[in-house]
Amino acid sequence: MKNISKIVESKTAYILILPAVVFILLFSIIPIGESLRYAFFDFQLNDQAKSGLYINANYNIALYDETAFYIRSFLDMEEEVVTKDETKLQIDAIRNMLDEYDQYMLNNISSPDMASVVSVNNEKLAYVTKIRDNIMSSLEKLYSFDEPFVCEEDMFAVASELDTAIISSNFSGLNNFKSVLTDTRVHSTVGFTLIFTFISVFFELCFGMALALIMNKALKGRGIIRTVSLIPWAIPTAVAALIWSYLYNGSSGIISHLFAWLKIIPEPTELLLSSTGSLWAIILADVWKTTPYMALLLLAGLQTIPHSLYESSSLDGATKLQQFGSVTLPLLKPSIFVALLFRTLDAFRVFDLIYVLTGGGPGGTTESVSIYAYKVMFAQTRFGYGSAVVLVMALTVGLITFAYIKLLNVKLIND
């Protein structure tokens, strides 16, 4: 009895963290593992031979049945128009062939549960490959006769499905990762995303710091200033992006006309229709939107600095600027680090702002990695390749974090 209670006591900690472990497993580890698994296959939905994760060879028997049905009905149509006996003999020969193969499918390949895709061993794989070759060659022989055939093109198009029915393994090892690394579109999107991330985070840090210092001062109406400055951050990104797209609009946008009048840009249409114009347009919208968030993170850090430090430094005769350099900045370093890290990771994954504002245009010059990954996975349904793109993106984010830790020399977790 004592022993049991001892065990329970010693394991209490484990029991208590169990729900959290289950939660992390369900919502983080398993999806990431699954995505990793996809990345090792040439997995794409718009091709029946690749729309699954196949390690072994398979045969799509439903597609064979459908193809055989079509070949027979095309043969019927041809039989009505052909004139020579030898052609008719060839048509009958193909029919007999199909009958024989149907029987083979029924006896050897069909599964009792009528599944449409059945796994096949090497011997059966060789046989279905032979079926494909035999049918193709006898069709070629048929159409070599000089007859007024009516559906030659359709016949070969349909017969090509015999090839689609043979599903060989689509395990591709590291090929997806190799092609991600050589994909020029990945290069250009990563390049754009990095430029966007560093420029916009730099400005956000500068403006955010200024805003935080203002909010930290005991001014009159501090509450109002804090509330008002947070408004841009509180507006949903998609809505804000839509408003900015009206402001940047080449024919009626206020900002584009203002900039053109100030000679910052040559034409009002430049903002959304040239690659540099739209890069800066996106950065401006992002800086406007997320500076308050940066300021909020820095403000939290500012408030942890004890007031006594400022008092003692001013007694020692330090100017305001010296105070900022020797007291505020060093003590704010952990907060700056956290804020920079959060914003960089966030900016690197930018999606909604660009998707609504430019859709990746003009000519794909403002396409971020997330937008490209979304297009590959959901619009083009290339899940295997898309997973590889996303994993490479995750790796890049990890590298950026590592670089920050090294550069700023901050300990992420205090021992």
Partner: protein
């Protein structure tokens, strides 16, 4: 305080349990009332008590045609009753939503409506049931239906779709500005893009207009449709891109033509800002409504020099449909003469069943069909490529073309890439 809270929670949970269990008997008690009345039972004792339910995935219809279509089918069918599942009006999202359902081999939708460019992808993925057997059973031929729509649904020798309503791009012009001589030339279709550019320059500014010609040139699917027309169905990619660039750079088009979609196009044309516009038939309905500066009687129609891109919606059967026989019956109903007539007369859609193009009731509701310029346009339709990876190809065409037109890329590189993609 804690005690009160826990008692409150317990009470809520008990209540939830009671009502949760209680809801079942109520639904059961409702069911008998839905069953056919005794007199009907006496008439057809062998008929099943409940009709089999079919689902139809479709976008909301701003007209009453869809409702009437479903009601007509439900009244006439002995065995089936159809329920519509209204999908989002954003085509891109609807595509992703359908794909999600179809790729999981779900049979939740029996009949699905699709944008013309999705059929190749869905057919290649094995999500659609070929309809050749259905055509044979009904005694219909492929040529009985709109050619462009059928071409969009033919993949590897098999037909997978029937038209729901076809759509096509064509030229709108201001008949109160363009001279009758030029109008005749346009309507006949015997003109080139250079002729159109010259006319746009000639008439620009007359009748209070600001622009000569507007069309869709933003980086989205509309650009592919327009490029299809400029390149005469991709037969002259380089020449087409060059002409499109001439239009972009000239002062007959708005400065921001490269962001134009259908919305900007109809705003510019219907507010009297442009002499010419390339758009879909819906813009004629807007002009005819009389709510805009430009009224129906100020608008003329003509084919485009390179032919008009086919758009619109097509219908197919889910390969994993729970009830294929029912799905076929419903598909034959809406795509056949009965359903298409309702669609054409109630909703003023173009009929996809060709025999209806000369039907008196349909002509009375579709003034466009009696117009010579429009009929010429209808005879000159061209389809976008029918391939399994259409969205990938379309995406790259958009990027390359937009890059060149916006001055960020070279003509040769754009033309070579696009020609390579289409091979």
């Amino acid at each position: 305080m804690k005690k009160v809270l826990s008692i409150l929670l317990t009470v809520i949970m008990i209540l939830a349990l009671v009502t949760g269990c209680g809801s079942q008997p109520t639904t059961q008690s409702q069911q008998p009332s839905e069953q056919p009345s005794p007199s009907k039972d006496a008439e057809s004792p062998s008929a099943p008590a409940e009709k089999t339910k079919l689902t139809f995935a479709v976008q909301a219809d701003s007209t009453d045609a869809l409702n009437q279509l479903i009601a007509a089918f439900n009244d006439s069918s002995e065995l089936y009753t159809v329920e519509t599942v209204v999908m989002t009006n954003d085509s891109g999202n609807m595509h992703d939503q359908l794909l999600n359902s179809l790729s999981s081999k779900s049979g939740e939708y029996d009949v699905i409506s699709m944008d013309v460019v999705w059929a190749g992808e869905f057919a290649a993925a094995g999500y659609l049931q070929p309809i050749d057997e259905l055509l044979a059973a009904k005694g219909w031929k492929v040529t009985d239906f709109n050619a462009g729509s059928m071409a969009s649904g033919k993949y590897k020798g098999k037909n997978y779709v029937l038209p729901y309503f076809p759509d096509l791009g064509f030229l709108f012009y201001r008949s109160d500005i363009v001279s009758s001589e030029d109008a005749q030339k346009l309507e006949s279709g015997n003109y080139t893009w250079a002729d159109l550019l010259a006319m746009a320059e000639k008439y620009k500014g007359q009748g209070g207009t600001k622009y000569g010609h507007v069309y869709q040139s933003g980086q989205y699917e509309g650009l592919v449709c327009n490029l299809n027309e400029f390149t005469a169905n991709w037969t002259d990619v380089k020449g087409g891109l060059e002409v499109m660039n001439q239009f972009t750079k000239s002062d007959v088009t708005p400065k921001d033509i490269l962001v134009y979609t259908e919305g900007e196009t109809h705003n510019a044309f219907l507010n009297g800002e442009s002499v010419f516009a390339r758009n879909w038939p819906y813009m004629n309905g807007m002009a005819a409504s009389g709510e805009y500066t430009v009224k129906g009687n100020q608008v003329g129609f003509a084919p485009l020099p390179g032919g008009g891109t086919v758009g619109g919606w097509i219908l197919g059967i889910n390969a994993n449909a729970k009830n294929k026989a029912g799905a076929e019956e419903f598909l034959a109903f809406i795509a056949g003469p009965e359903g298409q007539k309702i669609n054409a007369t109630v909703g003023s859609y173009l009929p996809g069943f060709n025999a209806l193009l000369t039907d008196a009731d349909v002509l009375a509701k579709n003034a466009l069909l009696t117009n010579q310029g429009f009929s010429n346009a209808l005879a000159k339709t061209i389809a976008r490529p029918v391939v399994a990876n259409y969205s990938e190809i379309s995406d790259q065409i958009q990027i390359k073309a937009h890059e060149y037109l916006s001055g960020n890329g070279q003509l040769d590189s754009a033309a070579d890439t696009i020609s390579g993609l289409l091979k």
